[in-house]
């Protein structure tokens, strides 16, 4: 089962696990708003329509490549506070190596292939987060 959600709502981990658990091995990655470098709020902008299509393509690619029984991508948009979950990626497979690799693939590629933009407020000043070259490298190792 492919599940792709782009929403302003908080991510419910217990509910996501219930949906994912379709086999013997479940791997997940969760990204949280950093609380440690003075970020007061984070705001996520996205490209409606194109975002969901990009995430669905990624999930379908992972499902085919690693024979997954389930793949979930949930990404929040809108304003968020430090410590809140921005993104949740989950994979389920009969085999643990497949679940783990597919999960790493999804989060690496999501960082470079999905149209999201982060805006941070630090010490009262708001700025767009710059893309990092390390994300391109992480994504490139899967192709």
């Amino acid at each position: 089962m492919i599940r792709v959600i782009v929403s302003r709502d908080a991510i419910d981990i217990a509910d996501e696990f219930t949906q994912l658990e379709q086999g013997g091995a479940v791997a997940t990655f969760t990204g949280l708003v950093r609380a440690d470098d003075g970020v007061a709020t984070l705001e996520l902008e996205h490209y409606p329509g194109a975002t969901e299509a990009a995430l669905t393509r990624l999930a379908e690619e992972a499902r085919a490549r690693w024979s997954l029984t389930a793949a979930t991508i949930v990404h929040r948009v809108g304003p968020m506070a430090p410590g809140e979950r921005i993104v949740f990626v989950g994979t389920c497979s009969a085999h643990r190596a497949a679940a783990l690799e597919a999960c790493a693939f999804l989060i690496d590629r999501l960082k470079t292939d999905a149209p999201f933009w982060k805006r941070e407020t630090v010490d009262g000043a708001s700025r767009w987060v710059e893309a990092r070259a390390t994300d391109d490298h992480a994504a490139a190792r899967w192709s």
Binding site: Y47, G49, A50, H75, V87, A114, P115, A131, D135
Partner: protein, 83 residues
Amino acid sequence: MKLLYFAWVRERIGLAEEDVTPPATVATVADLVAWLAPRSPGHAAAFTDPARLRAAVDQAFVPLETPIAGVREVAIFPPVTGG
């Protein structure tokens, strides 16, 4: 042709979207960016450095050299920073 702008591209231009009809000499996304730049000080500010821009044509990510003949929607934005 519908144009969509995101993040600081949207903010500098002051518009989230606009409709334009570029001449036939505007063949690629890069041509489009160069053609748009003189429309306003905001467009000029957004399109100063095309190396910092990315694009999608009909919702698919593409290089700026991609032809735009016949496309309905072009989005122009900074490198993505999700996840």
